[in-house]
Symmetry: C2
Subunit: 413 residues, 2 copies
Amino acid sequence: MCVPDWIDRQEGPPAVTTGIDAEATTDVPERLLLGSGPSPVPPRVLAALARPTIGHMDPAFADIMAETIGLLREAFQTENLATLPISGTGSAGMEALVANFVDSGDRVVCGINGLFGERMAEELRRAGADVVRIEAQWGRAIATEQLLEAAAAGRTGRTDAIVVVHGETSTGVAQPLEGLGDWCREHDALLLVDCVTSLGGHALRLDEAGVDAAFSGTQKCLNCPPGLAPFTVGERALEKLRGRAQPGRSWYFDLSLVQDYWNPDATASRAYHHTAPINMVYALREALRIAVSEEWLPTSWERHRRAHHALRDALAVFGCARLAPDGEQLHPLLAVTPPEGIDEAEVRRRLLLQHGIEISGGLGPLAGKLWRIGVMGAGARREPQEQLVGALATLLDADPGEPLAALAEGWRA
Amino acid sequence: MCVPDWIDRQEGPPAVTTGIDAEATTDVPERLLLGSGPSPVPPRVLAALARPTIGHMDPAFADIMAETIGLLREAFQTENLATLPISGTGSAGMEALVANFVDSGDRVVCGINGLFGERMAEELRRAGADVVRIEAQWGRAIATEQLLEAAAAGRTGRTDAIVVVHGETSTGVAQPLEGLGDWCREHDALLLVDCVTSLGGHALRLDEAGVDAAFSGTQKCLNCPPGLAPFTVGERALEKLRGRAQPGRSWYFDLSLVQDYWNPDATASRAYHHTAPINMVYALREALRIAVSEEWLPTSWERHRRAHHALRDALAVFGCARLAPDGEQLHPLLAVTPPEGIDEAEVRRRLLLQHGIEISGGLGPLAGKLWRIGVMGAGARREPQEQLVGALATLLDADPGEPLAALAEGWRA
C-alpha cells in the first residue's frame, strides 16, 4: 500500500513537481557586506536560523526566549526587566518606541542631524507630538546644550521627552548622551534613544546614561539577519505606559501586551499575543552569544574602534576624507567622501558586481557625495578590510601597497 | 605576520571564546507541528532561509523580490499589482490592513465569531473607527445577510468597509465571502479580509470574491517560518489610500512608502524604506515555489480538504466531535472537542514532550474545551496524521487500529 508523499498533480500548468524534499534553490550570490547593514552573517548564525521551527508556546522556545532576553540586557548594558526583541525590523523598533512612550500632544525635543533623526521626527509628527526640532549639520553631532536649552524652554514649563539617534547611520556620527539622562530625571521627562547601528559596536551603557527606552536592529553590529528590533524599557517609561487613559493606536507594538507573551520578568505564565518570528529568535540568540558571552562587549567596542581607524587611514590614501570630525565619529559606520573625480556610483556598482563587495552611498542631501562603509561585527576585522582596500585599488587604478600598509599600521596601533 | 581572526579578550568574565566559526548550538528539539501554526517547515525551506544574507538594495535581491511578488499574486489568485510581504508576522498584516484602509470615524461592519474577529475589532477600535459588531457563536460562520443588513443600516447612509476573517483559527470556521464583494462595489465600500490560516489551504480566489485588500501569515499553509505577512491590495483600496488628507498614524506600515521599496508594479527604481527581513524573504519564496509553482493551488486545496476529512473521521473514533458544522469547516484547522473525561491539557503536554507532536488547545471561552489541529501544507499529509493518531491512541490507552483504518479510508475517498 504505497501512499505518495505528495498528492499527484491532477491538471494545471506543466510545472515540474519537485516537492518538499527537493534541494533549495541556490541563486543567492555570496557578498562581503561592508555597507550600512546588513553586515556579514557568520555561518554559525545562519545555521542557528535554519534549526527546525518549533511552536511559539513550546516550553523549549520559552527557554530560548529567556536566554535571549538575558543576552539582550547585557548587550544594552541594562538591568531593565522589560527587554525583548520586537517582531519587526529596526524601523519597527522606532515605531514601537514612539507608539508606547509618546502621547498625542506631548512636547518632544528631537535631535536631527541625519536621515534617521528626520525619520524619528516623522514618526513623532504622525503620533501627534509637538516636535521641537533641534538640528545640526549632517555629519556633526548635536550640542548637548542646545538639546537641553530647547527642553527647558517648554512654554508650559514641561517637556515630555528628549529623543536622539545615538548612531546616525546616514552620516557616521555618534551622538553624546552625557547630561541628557540627568536632565530628564530631574524634569520628569523621558530619554528615548535610537541605537540601531551602535549597539554592540560603539561604547554604550544604557543604564549609566540614564536612557529610559531604546531600540536597535539585528543586522548591524550583532551580525544577525534583519528582522527583529532589540528593545529595552526602564521603570519610568513603563510607568508612563501604565498611566495611559486608553491604549495607544498600535496593537501590534503595544508593549503591555507584547510583555505578557515574552514575560521578561519571569513572573507570570506566557500569554499568546502574536506568533513570534521563531527562527529569527534562534539567530539573534546565537549572534548575541558571540558578541556578548564569547567576545565580551568592551572587547568588541575596542575592536570596532581599531577597525574604524585602520580603515579610515587606509582610505585616506585614496583621498577619502571622513565626514565626521575627530571625537564625533561612530565607529561601526565610516562615512567618507569618495575620491575626487570618479563616478562614485559606478565604482560601487563594480565593487558589488565584479568583486562581490557591498558598500553604501550617501542618502538625502549627501547622495552622490558619500561612501558609507560598515565596520560592524565580523566586518570589523582586518581581513575583510584588506579585501575592500585591494578591490578599491584595482577599481581606482591605484597601487594597493600604501593603503594596505596604512591598514596594517592601523591594526597594530 | 599573524593577525588573529578575532581580537583576544583583554579582561572580563572567564567565558570560552569560541568565535564566529564555531558550530551553532543544537538545543532546538524536533517537533511535528500539528497545532494552529507554525506548521511543519520542510528542510528545503529551512535551507533557503540559511542562504547568505545579501543587501536589501542588491540587484540580486530585487530579482528575488520580483519572483516573490509574482508567486504571492498566484497564491492570492489576484492580479493586484500591490502585492508584497509586510515585514512582520500575520498580526502585523492585520495592523497594516487597518492602518492603511480604515480612517478615524469610518463606519466598519466587522464579523466576529472567534478570537481573530475580536482582535480585528480591537484594531478597528484603536484606529478610531465606528465598529459595528456582527457576531456569531464561536464555531459558526456569520450569515451573509446579517453582514449586509448591518452594512445597509448605516445611519448616514454610508458604510466604509466590511471586514471578515476568512479562516478563523480559533474555531476552525471558514467564512463565506459570496455576496460581500458585490455589495461593497455597489456601495463604494471596501471588503477587507483576514486569510492568515486559509491562504494556500482552503479555496480562495481573491479577485473573484471581489476582495479589496487582504493579509495572511507565512507559518500556516505555506509552511514557512513565522515573520512575514503576505499582503495584497486592489485599485479601489489604493484610491482611498491616495485620497487621504494626511498620512496615517503608522510610518512602518504605510503602504504608500512600503510600495516604493518593493516596487511591485516594476515601474520605478526602488527607494529605501526599511531593511527587509532578507532571509525570511528567501524562505517565503521557496515555500511559495512549492505551494504555487510545483503543486499548483487547486491541487493543494483538494489535498487539504481530503486531509481534513480523513483526520476528522479518525478522531471521531476517539469521540472527538468537530466544532464547525458541515459546510462551515475550515480545512486547514480542524477544531474538535477532546474525548470526554480526560485531562485535555495533560494529554497535549504529553503529546508534545513524550511524542514530540504539537497540537493546540482552545482559546478564550473555548479554553479547555477544544483541540485545534493543524492540517496545513506538509502537515496535511497522511504520514504525519498517522503519527498523531498513533500517539493519541497510546496516550488515551485506545486501540489504534480503528482510527488508523478510518484515516486510511478517508485518504482513499
